[in-house]
Amino acid sequence: MRLHFLLLLLVSLPVTTLASPRGDESSARTALLARFDAALHADVAALDKLLADDLEYCGVSATCSTKAQYLDSVRSGARKFRSLVPRIERVTLFADSAVLTGKVYAVSIGDGTERNVDAYFLVVLAWRDGRWQMTNQSSTLLQPKPKT
């Protein structure tokens, strides 16, 4: 009787509980690096998968965009990079989310001019549908290096 009850309980568990392990630190790092890479290559299809539908993307000017606004800016070329070099410094994992901090060294292209945008980033990833999705990025400009 007890065995039947246990079997019934197992069968009634959601499939995701049994089939999808939570993301780990390595996969969180990989997801964020893939996000930066997709931004560098203006890969809208990849970004669409890597970004959560409830994304809040706040740039160094403190202006925030939704996922749709962010993807539009990539698609239109308004957000374009010559290079993007991220350095992830800290990853903290929770049950269904991960917080990552670090620095990104970027050269952005806008109005025909290139601009160095080196910044601290704070990223929140949410574990949904069996993968990490970025739900927040907020950035602060690094202090300019002292002139020598």
């Binding site: 409830d54 809040e56 706040c58 740039g59 160094v60 000017s61 403190a62 202006t63 925030c64 800290r90 903290t92 929770f94 049950a95 269904d96 989310s97 917080v99 901090t101 601290y120 980033f121 704070l122 929140v124 949410a126 739900t135 927040n136 907020s138 950035s139 602060t140 400009l141 690094l142 202090q143």
Partner: protein, 138 residues
Amino acid sequence: MVSVASFAKDVARETALKSAEMSRFEAQVNADAKALGNLLDDGLEYTHSNGDLDTKASFIDSLVTGKRDYISSTATIETVRIFGDVGVIRGKAKVTVGGKDRQPQDLSIGYTDIWLWKNGRWQMTAWRSARLPAPDAK
């Protein structure tokens, strides 16, 4: 299915998170080390809008010694999201900050901070802010 009890718990946690956020701004203005000791996580990463970095210890020390003086701050919370034991707040603030060897400065910033639910209370573990663009002088 979300139970009534679970929904009520979420609402209570969100209310507690907003309250903790406002208490933290207030504690900064009052340089209240005891309150900040409770409200800030030991692993705090505090990135000021000018790129200065602080840990929990260095941040509290800067306020207590007057190196950094939050003369006033008015915060507006724009969004609050909770992912399990992680809370994410996005908002804007007007801050007047001075301190030793520093003229008071009025700043308008956009911020995101991350809170952890630990030991039965919210504790802020990360802060990032950036200066908002100056209004057009039209």
